[in-house]
Subunit: 300 residues, 2 copies
DNA sequence: AGAAAAATCATTCAAATCGTCCATTATCCC
DNA sequence: GGGATAATGGACGATTTGAATGATTTTTCT
């Protein structure tokens, strides 16, 4: 965790500008960068001095968020996001304002600090969209915020998923959100989590009919057949009761054919899986990730 | 070891391009390639700037992976794409089979060879989705292909758009697809083309009500007010005649308020803009890009 | 308060990069 | 083809960088 307050350690700043700690300390010794010292002789760099330094030398920043820059916090002095007790609140605020770079810096800092994609999905992302979703009913402004935030977040999740993807052969997974479910983010996040765990994951996206799931899963071509299927259910329209039984039929067939099916999403638990009790139903991405880890361990 | 992160050393890039370090340094000194400097005077090259450079100079990459880019197109043994006379056919075939890596190789190779995002949008991407769209009516298999291809392509376009984006201040653009238009790709491509031309572009995504456009465009906050608005119309439902006149009212108000509005998309020409003849309507991304270029030139 | 863990110190050294010069190769113009 | 011009790649000593070291300081935890 970067040093709190207004003083940076040499390591923090060296990470921010993507240079070795040794070099940074040499620069301070040459007087290129002012430092104060603790009683014990450790260097402490004032944030403003750090900003002056990178500006004066036109250096590019690898991780601007460490300086509290991306044009985000510094350009929006009205709200100092660092004072917010809950980091998820900061992300929400950035998304609400459509501040794409700030949101990217925030999310990526947490990712690089070790949070998994699943944790980010259940934390800042879900939190933000829960709150932003409430706005949606408050007229055009809510819709504007929701649309903008969704597009930004789609881009960020895709960027994250390309960072964790490895192209070696892993188990094949396929999935999507069912008919009538128009949410783009849950399938994307699920794909990202699977890629994080070494899968070759195919995303069918939102609003995918059951027939398409069946076709994709029960193909005769052994090259195409997946090892793992997931289904996201975030918006089960009440006017489609037939859909519910279709899903359960599909689940039953997956059990028959010995294919792992996992169901998740906000309204997934509303389905009655008593007929096929072996179908795991998850309420969060963290749960899902834990299951995937177990499945992977069992497989090897 | 290639430098980690987003900054390359001259040696890294020289190896990637397959050219001597001397030449590379000479190019930077002539300003052909932007570099930042460490405090000690060593050159550091931003990845996106490196990509811009090799593209502008039409150089071939000996080691593309150093820039995080795919290798040659030939990396697809299963499909011999070289026998296809039309390269767009090759892309279609890759998308049809859901071959994400192959599609990425193909698209990025052409991008590196100098094709603009607009050209790729009108070429392989539009071509493929025209053909894939026909399949859509042929039952589940068509839907499967279309869903999978869409998700792959969304990822690729986002990746491309992040390569051409520069974070310096440019004119602000905002836009999206109107109510009832659920296509995700056109707004994404439009955003990418605008970023390619230096805009700070905000994407409101598909299915955006007119009221949201009005709110976003005619806000009183001068910090938020865009310089440029675009609207994508790919699927005007005939049962919504009111929508048509709403769009035209919005266009009229844009003219009044001296805000540039551009309309595009498959069914855009079906609208009757006689009342506001100064609204440009485009049928292709190439046309749109040409207009944007002109607008930019006029502005400076 | 005190012990254990983590971060930082100053220093050293090999590898990378600097700027510059020069011989060789490619390109252009007649 | 021949000569002028520009671009390339390699070599040079000087400087900068990044990683490792063992000693010290700061932070964390009980």
């Amino acid at each position: 965790m970067p040093t709190t307050g207004n003083l940076l350690s040499p390591k923090d700043l060296s990470i921010a500008i993507g240079v070795s700690e040794s070099s940074l300390k040499r620069w301070t010794d040459r007087g290129l960068l002012q430092v104060s010292r603790t009683a014990g002789g450790h260097r402490r760099i004032d944030r403003n001095e750090a900003i002056r330094f990178v500006r004066a030398r036109k250096m590019s920043l690898v991780r601007p968020e460490i300086l509290g820059l991306p044009g985000s916090v510094a350009a929006n002095p009205e709200i100092d996001l660092t004072t917010l007790e809950n980091p998820d609140e900061a992300f929400l605020e950035l998304m609400r304002r459509g501040h794409d770079l700030g949101a990217r810096n925030h999310l990526f800092q947490r990712f690089l600090d070790g949070e998994t994609i699943a944790a980010l999905a259940d934390g800042p992302i879900r939190e933000s969209f829960d709150r932003i979703g409430e706005l949606w009913h408050h007229g055009p402004e809510g819709i504007l915020i929701e649309h903008r935030a969704t597009e930004i977040c789609v881009g960020l999740v895709i960027e994250l998923s390309k960072m964790v993807r490895n192209d070696r052969a892993g188990p094949r997974a396929i999935g999507g959100a069912i008919s009538g479910d128009e949410y783009k983010l849950p399938p994307l996040l699920t794909t990202a989590v699977l890629q994080e765990h070494g899968f070759r994951a195919v995303n069918l996206g939102p609003n995918t009919p059951i027939e398409v799931f069946e076709l994709a899963c029960f193909t005769d071509d052994p090259e195409q057949r997946p090892d793992f299927v997931w289904m996201s259910i975030n918006d089960l329209p009440p006017e489609a009761p037939g859909l519910s039984s279709q899903v359960i039929d599909f689940a039953a067939r997956c059990v028959e054919e010995n294919l792992t099916l996992v169901v998740g999403g906000r309204t997934a638990r509303e389905l009655d899986f008593d007929r096929v009790p072996s179908i795991p139903v998850h309420g969060s991405m963290t749960e899902f990730a834990a299951f995937v880890e177990g499945w992977n361990a069992e497989r090897n």
